[in-house]
Symmetry: C2
DNA sequence: TGAATTTTTGCAACCGATTGCAAAATTTTG
DNA sequence: CAAAATTTTGCAATCGGTTGCAAAAATTCA
C-alpha cells in the first residue's frame, strides 16, 4: 500500500502538505495541491481511513444492530440505511443479533471498532446497551423503539398504542363484532403497546374482544399456525394482525378452511410491506412509515456525531390505514 | 476511552504485557495475565481494533457489495453472511451499489477502509473491481458469479446454463408445447446463461420456443407487467421465469386474466425463495442453494485472508427442482 | 547446586495518518 | 517599496496499539 510518506517524497513536499490536500477544509496552496494530486494519482495513493481514525478519533462507522433477518420489511431498512449513510460519508457496520450467543459480545465488538454511533432496529432493546454506550459517549438511536424518555436513548418510531386504537376503531366502524387480535411475539414492547391501545379502544366502544393470541415470531408460518389453532377453537369475524407476514399466513390458513375473504372473515395487517399490495393478498393494512423512520434515524445519528451532547429526542411518525380488499367496506351511514 | 497505557500503569507492567494478554497466542505468564485482566476489568478497557489494525495491517473487515435490496432472497444472503463472518471473528462492511452514483467510489471506499476481503453478491460484476483489488492484494469472491476463469476472481455459484437446460427438460417432459421464457434483466450474465441453456436444450428436444422476453428487474411488478404484455400478444402453455418474484407477478397477471394454474398455464420459477412455498402461490421452482453459496463464500474469503496467494477457485453447487403445484404432473409413461 | 535451556518481560521502533505551533512565503496596505 | 497582515509550510508530537530483540526470570537437567 502506498503511504503518505511516499507521496510526499514524490511530490517534493512535507507529509503534512499531503495530509492537508486530502482533508476537507485544510489550508494548502493550489500549487502544492496540484503537485500532490499528481503524485498521488501516479502512485495510486488512497489515504488510510484506519490511520486517520486513529489520529482523529472518528471512524465514520455506524453500527446497525438488527435481529430480524427473515422479514422482508427489513430489506427496505437495510436499503435506506446503507444509502442514507453512504450519502453522508458514513459506513454501516452490520450486527446480526439473531444468533450472536451474547448481545454483550456484539456490544464489545462495536466498542472495539470505535463506531461513531449506533442505530438499533429492533422493537426490543438489549437492556445493557444504552448505559454501555452512553458511558462511552457514543450516540444510540433506537429505531422502532418504545416511547420512554427514561431509557436515555433517542427513539425514532411510531406510537404503537395509537395504532392499536386505530385498528380497533377501523374494525368496529365496519360493523365487525367478533374481533380477535393476533399479535407478534408477546415479549416485544411494540406488541404490548399495540395490544393495550387495541383493548382500550375496544373497551371505549363497548366491544369485547373475541380472542387475543400471539404468533411465535414475525413469520408467515407462525401466523399460519396460530390461525389454524384459533380456527379450531372458535369463529371470528375479523382479525387484527401484528404484522403483514403473520397476516398472510393467517389468511392462507383461513382460505385453507374454505373461508372467503372478506365475506366470511376480515383481515387487517400491519406494516404495509410491498407484498401487501400483491393481488393474491391485497391486504388492507396499517402503513408504518419505515422510510421516514430510517431516514430520520440516519439523519439524527449523523447530527449527534457532530454535536455529542444534544439532549434526548423522541421522533414519532404517524401511521395510516391503507384500504385494499380484506375488510368489508364501511357501511353507508 | 481507556488505553493500553493506563491499564499497564494500573497493573504495574509494561505496555507490551498488556498487549500480549489481549493477543491470541502471545506469551504471558499466568500471573501477569491475571494482574492485567483485573486492571482491565476495573477500568473497563476495550482494545482498540483501529489501532490494532494499523499496527497489524489487518482489519478483520470484509466488504459485502450488493445491488439488490428489494428482493427478499437477499435477506437470507445478509443473514448468512453476517452470521458466518461473526462466527469467525470478522465483520461485514455493507456497500449498497444500487444508488452509489459511481461504483468506483465504493471501490475507493473499500480500499480506504483496508478491508481484508470482499464478497460481491451480484450477477453482474463491475468490471474494474477485480483488477483494482488484485493489485492491492485483496481477495475478491464473486458470489452468484459467472463461470469464467479469466476474470481473476474466485467464483462461487451455480451453473446457470445447466439450470436453463433443466428447466427446458422439465417443461417438455410434462408435455408442454408452447413454452416461453420470461427472464430477469437481459443484461445479467446469469440471465444470458440460463437462456442459452434453455434454448439449447429445447433445440435438442425439437421444440421451438413460443416466446422469449425479459423483465425490467427482479421484482413482482416487473414480472406482472411483462406477463400482461405477453398475454396480450399470444397464448402460451408454460412459462419459465428467471426469478420467483417475477414468476409470482406473472402468475397474478395470468390469474387476473382468468387463467387457472396449472390447468390453463404452467409456471416454473427460479430460486425457491421462502414465499414460493406459500399456499397462495405454491410454486414449482428450481432451488438455488443460496445457503451453500454464501457459507462457502465466507469460508473461502476467510481462508484467503490467511493464505493470500492461493490460486483461483470456482465452486459450483447444483440446483434441483422443487415440485409444487404450478406445473401439471408428469404423464404416466 | 550450577550450568544450560526455555519462558517471560520491557524497550523502543513502527504502523499511517493528523495537527498545534512557529517559521517562511505570500499578499495586502499605506 | 517597506511594513503589516495573512496564508502556507514543515517540524515533531501524537493517536493506541504490535513486535523483534535482548535482557531477566524461571525452569530443566546433569
Amino acid at each position: 500500500m502506498v503511504t503518505l510518506k511516499e507521496v510526499a517524497a514524490r511530490a517534493g513536499v512535507s507529509r503534512s502538505a499531503v495530509s492537508r490536500t486530502f482533508t476537507e477544509g485544510a489550508s494548502v496552496s493550489d500549487k502544492t495541491r496540484r503537485k500532490v494530486e499528481l503524485a498521488a494519482d501516479e502512485l495510486g495513493y488512497q489515504p488510510s481511513l484506519i490511520a486517520r481514525s486513529l489520529a482523529t478519533n472518528r471512524t465514520k462507522l455506524i453500527g446497525l444492530v438488527a435481529n430480524n433477518f427473515r422479514n422482508p420489511v427489513f430489506l427496505e431498512v437495510f436499503d435506506l440505511f446503507t444509502q442514507g449513510l453512504q450519502k453522508r460519508g458514513f459506513r454501516p457496520l452490520l450486527v446480526n443479533l439473531s444468533t450472536e450467543t451474547d448481545p454483550e459480545k456484539s456490544l464489545h465488538m462495536l466498542r472495539q471498532y470505535r463506531v461513531d454511533g449506533i442505530i438499533i432496529a429492533t422493537s426490543t432493546l438489549p437492556p445493557t446497551f444504552p448505559d454501555a454506550f452512553r458511558k462511552a459517549g457514543v450516540p444510540v438511536i433506537h429505531a422502532f423503539g418504545k416511547i420512554d424518555a427514561s431509557s436515555g436513548v433517542h427513539v425514532v418510531g411510531i406510537d404503537n398504542r395509537k395504532c392499536g386504537e386505530m385498528a380497533a376503531q377501523t374494525l368496529v366502524d365496519r360493523g365487525y363484532k367478533k374481533i380477535a387480535l393476533l399479535g407478534g411475539p408477546q415479549s416485544a414492547t411494540s406488541t404490548q403497546d399495540r395490544l393495550a391501545g387495541f383493548l382500550s379502544q375496544l373497551g371505549k366502544l363497548g366491544v369485547e374482544p373475541a380472542d387475543v393470541r400471539f404468533a411465535r415470531d414475525y413469520s408467515y408460518s407462525a401466523g399460519r399456525e396460530a390461525m389454524t389453532e384459533l380456527l379450531a377453537e372458535m369463529e371470528v369475524e375479523a382479525l387484527f394482525c401484528g404484522d403483514d407476514l403473520i397476516c398472510m399466513g393467517a389468511m392462507d390458513a383461513a382460505r385453507g378452511k374454505g373461508l372467503k375473504i372478506p365475506e366470511d372473515i376480515g383481515f387487517l395487517g400491519f406494516n404495509d410491506m410491498n407484498m401487501a399490495g400483491w393481488s393474491a393478498y391485497d391486504l388492507t393494512t396499517i402503513h408504518q412509515p419505515i422510510r421516514d423512520i430510517i431516514l430520520s434515524s440516519v439523519e439524527l445519528v449523523v447530527a449527534m456525531v457532530g454535536e455529542p451532547d444534544r439532549s434526548n429526542e423522541t421522533r414519532l411518525f404517524s401511521c395510516s390505514i391503507v384500504e385494499r380488499s380484506t375488510l368489508r367496506p364501511l357501511p353507508a351511514s
